[in-house]
C-alpha cells in the first residue's frame, strides 16, 4: 500500500541535492539523492522525502487522476 506522489520540480539547490517540488498547490522540499540528472520542470515520484524516479508529465497526470478516482486528491499537477 505504499503510494508515491507525482510532483513537479520547481527549484533545485545543487549544493545540497535538494529540490522544492509541487504536488498540486502544495510545495514540499525533497532530496534528489536517488535520481540522476533531474532538472527544473521535470516530474518525479516522491516518497518519504525522496524523489524515487523521473516520470513523464503524462504519467504524472494519469497517476493523479487515479488518486482522484480513489478519493485521495482531486488536484492536477502544477
Amino acid at each position: 500500500m505504499c503510494l508515491a506522489l507525482p510532483a513537479k520540480i520547481i527549484s533545485i539547490d545543487a549544493t545540497t541535492d535538494r529540490a522544492i517540488v509541487a504536488v498540486g498547490d502544495v510545495k514540499k522540499e525533497i532530496s534528489l539523492a536517488l535520481v540522476e540528472g533531474a532538472k527544473v520542470h521535470d516530474f518525479v515520484l516522491i516518497h518519504v522525502g525522496y524523489a524515487l524516479n523521473k516520470i513523464s508529465q503524462q504519467e504524472a497526470e494519469r497517476t493523479l487522476e487515479i488518486f482522484a478516482e480513489a478519493g485521495l486528491s482531486g488536484e492536477k499537477p502544477a
Binding site: 500500500m1 505504499c2 508515491a4 534528489l32 539523492a33 518519504v48 497517476t63 487515479i66 488536484e75
Partner: protein
C-alpha cells in the same frame, strides 16, 4: 496534503514497567477499491502507477492472483523472472535503507552519488528478462539476455560488497556466529560495521527485544477464510492470525541463518539481531538470484488449482509478506484486497509496539533515538511521526 498516509507512534514511558505505546495509521488501505468494476488488463495497467514503491512486488502479487483466478497457463520461467525482479527490488530497498538512513542515524553525511546507479540496475535487469515486452501482463513473454543477466547479478554483488561491507560478500558471509561478527565489527570501517559498532558501544544489543514469532506460511484456504468475510477490512488494517500478532520482516525470513540464530540466542530479537538480519539478507541475495536463473528456461507451466472466481497472489517483498486477493464476477473485478506487511509489523500490539514498550531509559533523548532505530530496523513503507511523551 498527505495522500500516502502516515503512522503516528506515541510512546508514554513508564519507569520500572512496560511503557504504553499507541500506533495509529492513516494509510489509505481502501484505495484498491478503484479496481472494482475493472477488467484485469485495466488493473494491471493502473497498478504500477498507484504502487510505485515496491512496485515490482505489488505487480507480481497481482499477476499471480489474476493468473490463478483466470486459470491461465503461465510458464514457470515467467514466474521465476518476476521473482528475480522482486529479489533485485528487495536488494535495492535494503541498499537504500542502509545507505540513506544509517548515515543519518550515525550522524554522518549521505553520499548520494554512490546510491544513484542502483535504480538503473533494476531497470536494466527488467530489459534483460523481458526486452521491450510487458513484464506484468497476463501473457508476458521472456526475451532473455542470459549474459547480461549474469553480468547484472555480478555487478550487484560487487556494488553491495563495496558499498555496504567493504569486502566481498563471499568473505563476509563466512561470519557465522557472534564471536566472528564482533571481531569483524571491531576491525572494519564499512557503514554496516559502524552501525553495528554503535549498537554494541551503546550496549543497545537487546533494545526492543520482545516475544513475537515470525509469520508462518499461510495457506490460501487460511487467507480466503480471513479475507472473505464481510469485515475483512478490519483484518487488513490490523491483521492477526490465531488470535496473535506476528512479525514479517528480514529477521523473520533470516531466523534460521547460523549468524542470526547465534545472535538470537544471545540478544533475542533486539536491535543487533534485527539490524544484522537485514545485512545477512542483503548479502545472500545475489547468490539467491544466481540460483533462480537456472529456472529461467524451465518448460514447465505453473499449475493453478481451481479457484471459484477468487485468486490469491503472495510475494515476499522487501518489508515482508504481501498478499493480493481478487474476486471476479462476469469478467470484472468485484473485490480487490491487499494485505501488506506494514499492517502486521506496525499493528497496535505488534512487534514494534511490543519492542517500544520494552524500552527502559530515563533519558528522553536516548529513548527517542532508540525508538527511531527500532522503527527504522523494522522499516515501515510510509512516513511516521514519533512522539515520546
Amino acid at each position: 496534503m498527505n495522500i500516502e498516509g502516515r503512522l503516528q507512534i506515541n510512546l508514554y514511558p513508564h519507569a520500572g514497567s512496560e511503557s504504553r505505546v499507541e500506533i495509529t495509521s492513516s494509510r489509505p488501505l481502501q484505495v484498491v477499491k478503484i479496481f472494482e468494476g475493472k477488467r484485469p488488463k485495466q488493473v494491471l495497467a493502473t497498478l504500477p502507477l498507484l504502487y510505485s514503491v515496491c512496485g515490482i512486488a505489488q505487480a507480481t502479487a497481482a499477476t499471480r492472483a489474476f493468473a490463478q483466478l483466470l486459470e491461465s497457463k503461465e510458464s514457470r520461467s515467467v514466474d521465476v523472472a518476476r521473482d528475480l525482479l522482486v529479489t533485485a527490488e528487495t536488494a535495492r530497498e535494503h541498499l537504500w535503507r542502509i545507505l540513506l538512513d544509517w548515515p543519518q542515524l550515525l550522524d554522518e553525511t549521505v553520499d548520494a552519488q554512490r546510491i544513484i546507479p542502483i535504480q538503473s540496475l533494476l531497470q536494466t535487469l527488467r530489459t534483460a528478462l523481458f526486452a521491450e515486452s510487458a513484464s506484468f501482463c497476463l501473457h508476458s513473454k521472456l526475451e532473455l539476455d542470459g549474459e547480461l543477466i549474469n553480468e547484472l547479478i555480478d555487478h550487484l554483488e560487487r556494488v553491495v560488497g563495496e558499498l555496504v561491507f567493504n569486502e566481498s560478500l563471499t568473505q563476509w558471509l563466512e561470519i557465522d556466529d557472534l564471536t566472528s561478527l564482533s571481531r569483524w565489527v571491531a576491525q572494519s570501517s564499512a557503514i554496516s560495521a559502524r552501525a553495528l559498532r554503535r549498537i554494541i558501544d551503546d550496549e543497545w544489543q537487546t533494545v526492543g527485544r520482545c516475544n513475537i514469532a515470525p509469520l508462518p506460511a499461510l495457506s490460501e484456504a487460511n487467507l480466503h477464510q480471513q479475507l472473505g468475510t464481510a469485515d475483512a477490512e478490519h483484518f487488513i488494517a490490523e491483521p492477526t492470525w490465531q488470535q496473535q500478532c506476528w512479525e514479517t520482516t528480514s529477521l523473520a525470513r533470516q531466523a534460521e541463518h547460523p549468524l542470526i540464530a547465534s545472535l538470537q540466542g544471545e540478544y533475542g530479537n533486539g536491535l543487533l539481531t534485527r539490524v544484522t538480519a537485514r545485512l545477512v539478507e542483503l548479502a545472500t541475495l545475489p547468490e539467491k538470484m544466481r540460483t533462480m536463473t537456472a529456472h529461467l528456461t524451465s518448460p514447465q507451466t505453473v499449475a493453478h488449482s481451481p479457484s471459484d472466481k477468487v485468486g490469491i497472489g503472495q510475494v515476499e517483498a522487501a518489508r515482508g509478506r504481501l498478499v493480493h486477493r481478487i474476486v471476479m464476477v462476469g469478467g470484472l473485478v468485484s473485490r480487490y484486497q491487499v494485505l501488506a506487511p506494514t499492517e502486521w509489523n506496525f499493528h497496535p500490539q505488534g512487534v514494534v509496539a511490543r519492542g517500544l514498550a520494552k524500552l527502559q531509559t530515563r533519558d528522553k533523548a536516548v529513548l527517542q533515538r532508540q525508538a527511531a532505530m527500532l522503527i527504522h530496523a523494522v522499516d515501515p513503507c510510509v512516513g511516521y511521526n514519533l512522539k515520546v511523551h
